[in-house]
Amino acid sequence: MIQTPSYTQIALSSLAKKLDDDNPEIRAKAAESLGKLGQETGIPALVNHLDDSHINVRLKIIQALGEISSETAIPKLVSTLTDSNPTIRTATAGALGQIGGEKAVLHLVELLDYDSEPSVRIAAAQSLGKTCSEDAIPPLVNSLKDKDIQIVHFAGHGLAQIHTEKSINALIQALESPDDKVRSIAAESLGQIASEQTLHALIKTLQQDLSPDVRTNAVKSLGEIGLEDAIPALINALSDEEDSVRLSATDAIGKIGSRYALS
């Protein structure tokens, strides 16, 4: 008996055929659609067209592979990491972030460390956070020292996203960094993690840090976390010498107050 193909398979082969269309717009749309279909069985057709002559088609194929999020795409996908066009490399970094896993992390670290284009490195840092993989923690911690402030930003937020004891500790340690920017980003990132540990670390920073930016971010994060234990420290912050700290403290107290009033 011949097995009837499922409707998804019918849709898949019909769309895959369009990857060979003469019109690049159709090819791009077909790639995008295969991504939306999200079927692993669509990967072979997509990776076989990674050498499409049209950049937009290649871009859509890479994005589609990210959408499908299967590690099986990685061996062929990484061929685009040496593409001369930074847009393509950025897209690949994005796709690797969606796919995740140990192999994706390795390739992303390589991009972060060696790519000549700042935008590609930023994308790699951002993607490392998205993988939510423990393997990404050491390279991200390392990136907190990067000269590029955007990379530091994504490294900090990436560590918060990974949300494990190790990554949270790394951020709390970064609150002690000699660099204002690093402390500021660490304080900002910790707002995503509601725990007693982060609460105390942020309160300590609010009370002791000499940089107004860092104190402002600590106040904002305490507001985000929304635990009432932050209120005494925030009330003290209302008499901070810096306008931005006092303003943010008002907001934060309001946020926490309304949260408790509602519950």
Binding site: L15, I26, K36
Partner: protein, 196 residues
């Protein structure tokens, strides 16, 4: 809320006809509407339209519709018998759905033995159509005559036709692009010769 399966069939037929409308905007709208129905049985119809479509925007709409339908139906509902689920027919094996060139879907509920008979005759007709193609009107007439000759000499074929009656003819003719009226002639021939 879902449509009663009869109405759903009518709606799908109506929209699928519009997929072949000369006006591209009409075809786009038809694809969108079919996508909104969200019934996975529409997918083959849309895939076929995608292959035949030359207009860029319409192709885009068809692809969007395919994705919309696929993503609106859960993976677990994926059917192994697409033809049956098409119209929520209880016994898909007893039904043959024939899609004619005009885009109208005809479905004929047929008893099991009729389906078997149809399959056997279809094999025979397929062999004949290799020698006698059915592309033009003249070729079709020649083909019908040849089948007629076959009916006169093949008693098994006659029996199957007499037993299946007009319902069987309705199954056999559409895929070959032969009007049912022309096929009716086979049945008459078979009845004239009688069963043996």
């Amino acid at each position: 809320m879902t449509l009663n399966s009869d109405y759903l069939r009518i709606v799908i037929e109506t929209f699928s006809k519009r997929l072949k409308h000369p006006n591209a905007q009409m075809r786009m709208k038809a694809a969108q509407c079919l996508g909104n129905i969200g019934n996975e049985s529409i997918i083959p119809l849309l895939c076929q339209a995608l292959e035949e479509e030359s207009n860029l925007d319409v192709q885009f709409c068809i692809m969007d519709a395919i994705i919309a339908i696929n993503n609106s139906t859960s993976q677990s509902a994926m059917s192994e018998t697409p033809q049956g689920s098409k119209y929520n027919i209880v016994q898909p094996e007893n039904v043959q759905i024939v899609e004619q060139g005009d885009g109208i879907i005809h479905n004929y509920a047929t008893p099991q033995n009729l389906t078997e008979a149809a399959q056997q005759i279809q094999q025979l007709l397929a062999q004949l159509s290799q020698t006698y193609p059915t592309n033009t009107e003249t070729e079709k007439k020649i083909f019908v005559t040849q089948v007629d000759e076959e009916i006169k000499t093949n008693s098994r074929l006659r029996n199957m036709l007499i037993e299946g009656g007009i319902e069987l003819i309705k199954i056999l003719c559409p895929p070959l692009g032969i009007p049912i009226e022309m096929g009716r002639k086979w049945l008459e021939t078979a009845k004239q010769m009688g069963s043996s």
